[in-house]
Symmetry: C2
Subunit: 345 residues, 2 copies
């Protein structure tokens, strides 16, 4: 079958690999219907995160169950399944405590594991990892569900970590897919004021569509001052959805005393966390990789009920054979998020 | 009158200064009964924190009201008063929100303001800042109340920030007065297991007296591993009561995924906060200067009821005239906490 690997910095390739097979009795083999390129895929692609040449790529995907191991009981051939970006055993203390991303037997798609930017994958702990969706799913619904596998779950986590209350205000930093989804998650959580900070003018419209009540230019020198002014001294809830130094610095600057920062961007190049600033103003810093599996059921239910639609973050589509073009489009910020279809449609 | 100033690094002096006078109608003049030297006083004393030569010193003190401005209504001449380490106006959004340490019109004792290691002080916003104690107070009770002005309130804050639940477990890092008080605060909060980490063998006994169920040597190489083992994978609640790099690193190492670090030591020399560690394991870092005034009433009520006694942290006493000796004893770790008495008793 075909699978995407990172061969070198900036060098994404679709290569032939052996078909995945059941290894453990809890495995399933899943054929990929739709996958996406994530902003975090760009870190190793740009050489800003370590990788081994040949690492499999892709952790956002939806597929159809093709085969199940003898201990898989909740899934059957032909099921459409949503996968979170991490697999987990579902039975350990971390999983039972709602933190499947801290499961010691779990892991992330890609690298030495199978990746989602491929024709198929072997899924460990399939019963615990996958959410079957037993509804009529057309292409449009597939697009609404795909973001739940990572960016929508992560945006939701930012809002959870920041403790955004119904009727409250939140500052969302970042206009990547996660930041935009955090805006949507904040609206879903009932926030009345959603102040979004981005760098790309064309994404402001999408932020507003998702519920942002004001959009600020993250590159303008006075952005922090304007947000502090408009929030009467800083925001009580700030969602940091980038993971870079300037985004964190802005989050620290606009959080009011006693406020909370929910930080969900994968930290990259962050070498300064001003502990004294946190200390002086009693600011809580709650960083975390989203326990996406723990959110999948409720978010999928909202999508199926027509109450949630993050699909506008999917702004370009490619056949899997053009995966290198999909990366290039993301890298050059020509698209918010690119999807790839193994069937080439 | 006599007041303590920091003349140079390691050079503490008791000098003659003008008597304090009422400047604003909300001021009070308070004569000091008992004051203490704080671990944080040692930072400038050791040259590890900026100061201006001649800065007044001392932010832990109890006194008697001598004079009140025309707008002071809750205090009268002769009242015994507890002061938190920071004054605040009591009416702003921060004060009303329970964060008097973020009051913009407030400040900390010492520096350009009057300090507590003196015969008397001018107290701004006296009604809001001071807690009158209208009970018969002998010397022993004075010693039980004094730690509430800073170290006991700060230890309590660590337990609040770390979210220690009744019946839960907590790791307390630091065997200074704040760490020891955090142990006491954890017991007061109903923690069942209190794992204390210190460096001084003679303080382990005091930690146990305050409620520690186990005491670890912070300098031993395997301390983190032993704590992780004894907590079944790390602690859900960690109180960091030092403010130094190694204490923070230890806190990060022993916190379990999804856990919370309450950090109350004044950050000093902390230049690495591993954001990726927080992110990867969904650890909340809640640092904060204690809003001591917000805790004073309830802690003082416990002391007066005989339910709380932090006075064992006061391990040495000096007349105010020997303030330089008190600093030296603290600096050389010959005492946990030194008190000074302006009346020389």
């Amino acid at each position: 079958m075909k699978a995407t690997v990172l061969n070198d910095i900036g060098d994404i390739r679709l290569i032939d690999v052996p078909d995945p097979v059941i290894r453990d009795p809890t495995d399933a083999i899943v054929r990929v219907r739709l996958a996406a390129v994530c902003g975090s895929d760009l870190w190793p692609y740009r050489g800003r995160e370590e990788f081994r040449p040949g690492d499999r790529m892709g952790h956002e995907w939806i597929g159809t169950v093709e085969e199940t191991g003898p201990e898989v009981t909740r899934l059957r051939h032909g099921d459409l399944v949503l996968a979170p970006f991490a697999f987990a055993d579902g039975v350990c203390a971390a999983c039972r405590g709602g933190l499947p991303t801290s499961c010691r037997r779990g892991g992330f798609w890609g690298g030495a594991h199978d990746g989602g930017q491929a024709e198929a994958l072997r899924v460990p702990f399939a019963d615990a990892t996958l959410l079957p969706v037993r509804a009529a799913v057309d292409d449009a619904l597939l697009g609404r569900l795909l973001p739940l596998t990572d960016v929508m779950a992560t945006g939701h986590h930012a809002v959870v970590l920041a403790g955004v209350p119904r009727g409250g205000s939140v500052v969302v930093i970042g206009d990547g897919a996660v930041g935009l989804c955090a805006v949507l998650a904040a609206r879903r959580a009932g926030a009345e004021r959603i102040l979004a900070v981005g760098r790309q003018p064309d994404r402001a419209e999408l932020a507003r569509h998702f519920g942002a009540t004001a959009v600020f230019d993250g590159r303008a020198a006075d952005t922090a001052g304007r947000i502090i002014e408009q929030t009467g001294g800083g925001a009580a809830h700030v969602a940091e959805c980038v993971g870079g130094q300037s985004a964190l610095d802005l989050a620290m600057a606009v959080t009011r005393p006693g406020g909370t920062i929910g930080s969900v961007g994968v930290p990259n190049g962050v070498d300064r966390v001003d502990l004294y600033r946190l200390f002086r103003s009693n600011i809580a810093l709650r960083a975390g990789v989203a326990p996406a599996r723990a959110y999948l059921d409720v978010l999928a239910a909202d999508v199926l009920a027509g109450a949630l639609d993050p699909s506008p973050v999917l702004t370009a589509a490619f056949p899997l054979t053009d995966i290198a073009d999909a990366y290039r489009a993301m890298d050059r910020r020509r698209t918010v998020k690119a999807v790839v279809r193994p069937d080439g449609s």
